[in-house]
C-alpha cells in the first residue's frame, strides 16, 4: 500500500477510534453503569465505584482491542502485568499520549484519576467520571490544586488508589517536564506508597494539540510497565525532593531508551517493511 494511502487510512482509522471511544463511554454511562449503581444502591461508595470502574475497564480493554484491530495503536508486548500493593497507593506515570489513562485503567481499572471539571459536565463522559468516583480537577482556578489534593486524600483514606501525572500535563516527545510535588505530598500525607509506571509510545502520537495531519504514518507501538520505586523511605524527605528522586528514575529510563534507539521487542510495525494494513 502506498505511503499516502496508508496515511489516509491511519487518519480515518484514528477518527474511528475516537468515535468508538466517545460513543462507547456514552453507551456505558446510560446502560451498564446506572444499572450497577442501582444494583449496589445500598452498598458502600467504594463498592459502587469499584463495580463501575471494573465495567469501564472492560470497555477500555475492548477499545484497545479495537485499536489493535484497526492497527492504529498496538500494545507491545500485548500483555501488561502490574504488581501493585493491596492497600491504597498513589500511582504515578509519565504522560506521552492522550490514551495513557485509558491504557492504565484497561490493565488496572480500580484507580481514581483526575479530570478537568469541564469533562465532568460533558454529555459523553461526565456521568462515567462521576459514577467511577474520579476526581474533579477544577478549571484552572488558583485553589483547584489544593482541592484535588484534598479529594485525593479522601479517596486514599477510603482505600482507593489514585493516579496522578507528576508533570501535570502531557510529556514532551521523548522527554519529561519537571515533576511537581503534589503527587508525593498526597502520598506522604496519606502515608501510602508511590508506585511508578512508565509509558512509551513509538512513534509518538496523540500528543497535546493533536491534529489529524500530525498523526504518524505507521502503527504506534505502546508500552506500559511498572518501575521499581527508588529505595528508602521517601516519606521522611519532603515532597519536593521526593519528586526530584522519582523524576531521576524516569529520566534514567528515557536516557536508556534513547541509547537503545527506543527499540521495542517484537514490533510488527510498518517500518520493518511488514504490512500493517492488510
Amino acid at each position: 500500500m502506498g505511503r499516502r494511502l496508508r496515511a489516509l487510512y491511519l487518519a480515518t482509522a484514528t477518527g474511528g477510534c475516537f468515535l468508538f471511544f466517545w460513543v462507547g463511554c456514552w453507551l456505558l454511562s446510560w446502560t451498564a453503569l446506572p444499572l450497577a449503581r442501582l444494583a449496589l444502591r445500598n452498598g458502600s461508595t467504594i463498592d459502587r465505584d469499584r463495580l463501575c470502574q471494573d465495567l469501564v475497564g472492560w470497555g477500555f480493554r475492548l477499545f484497545i482491542a479495537f485499536m489493535r484491530w484497526l492497527r492504529t495503536l498496538v500494545f507491545v508486548p500485548g500483555k501488561v502485568e502490574f504488581k501493585f500493593p493491596d492497600g491504597p497507593f498513589v500511582l504515578i506515570s509519565n504522560h506521552p499520549t492522550l490514551i495513557d489513562v485509558t491504557a492504565i485503567l484497561a490493565v488496572y481499572p480500580r484507580i481514581c484519576c483526575v479530570a478537568k471539571t469541564e469533562l465532568f459536565h460533558s454529555s459523553w463522559v461526565g456521568r462515567l467520571l462521576r459514577y467511577c468516583g474520579h476526581i474533579e480537577g477544577g478549571s484552572a482556578g488558583p485553589m483547584d490544586g489544593v482541592a484535588v489534593m484534598q479529594q485525593a486524600l479522601k479517596r486514599l483514606k477510603r482505600g482507593q488508589p489514585v493516579l496522578i501525572f507528576p508533570e501535570g500535563t502531557r510529556s514532551p516527545d521523548h522527554g519529561l517536564r519537571r515533576f511537581k510535588s503534589g503527587a508525593f505530598e498526597i502520598a506522604s500525607r496519606a502515608g501510602v506508597p508511590v508506585v511508578p509506571v512508565y509509558a512509551t509510545c513509538e512513534p509518538p502520537t496523540l500528543k497535546k494539540n493533536l491534529s489529524w495531519y500530525g498523526l504518524p504514518k505507521k502503527t504506534a507501538c505502546y508500552n506500559l510497565r511498572q518501575l521499581a520505586a527508588p529505595a528508602g523511605d521517601f516519606h521522611a524527605a519532603d515532597s519536593r525532593s521526593a519528586a526530584a528522586r522519582f523524576q531521576d528514575l524516569y529520566q534514567a529510563e528515557i536516557d536508556a531508551g534513547r541509547r537503545t534507539q527506543t527499540h521495542v521487542d517484537g514490533v510488527p510495525s510498518a517500518s520493518t517493511g511488514r504490512r500493517v494494513v492488510s
Binding site: 490544586g145 489544593v146 484535588v148 484534598q150 500535563t169 510535588s181 519532603d238 519536593r240
Partner: protein, 100 residues
C-alpha cells in the same frame, strides 16, 4: 503582643514570598525583584496555573507552617496578587499564634 517587634514587616514578608515563588516554581526568566506586588499572580501577570498554585501552597506550608485549605474563607482573594498573599500568610500566622 510583646514579641510584635520581632516579627518581620509586611515588606520583608513580601520580599520573602517573591523569592519563594521564584524558587518553588523554578521560574527561570523571572527575577524575584521583578515581581510586581500588585500584579495578578495567575493567568495574567505571572501566568501561574492551578498546579503552580499547589506548588506554591505547599512551599508556603513548609516555610511558614501554615495550612492553606481549598475552602478557607477568602483564599481565592488571597492568591490574587503578591500583596494580598502576604497579608493572608500573616493573618494565618496570627491565627496559629492565638491557637497555640
Amino acid at each position: 503582643m510583646t514579641w510584635e517587634g520581632a516579627e518581620p514587616s509586611m515588606a520583608d514578608l513580601e520580599h520573602e514570598l517573591k523569592h519563594l515563588i521564584v524558587e518553588a516554581l523554578l521560574l527561570e526568566d523571572v527575577k524575584a525583584e521583578e515581581i510586581d506586588s500588585h500584579a495578578p499572580l495567575f493567568v495574567e501577570g505571572l501566568g501561574l496555573d492551578s498546579i503552580d498554585a499547589l506548588e506554591l501552597v505547599l512551599a508556603i506550608n513548609r516555610k511558614y507552617g501554615v495550612e492553606i485549605k481549598a475552602d478557607t474563607e477568602g483564599n481565592k482573594e488571597a492568591f490574587r496578587s503578591l500583596n494580598s498573599l502576604a497579608a493572608f500568610v500573616k493573618e494565618l500566622q496570627g491565627n496559629r499564634g492565638e491557637g497555640a
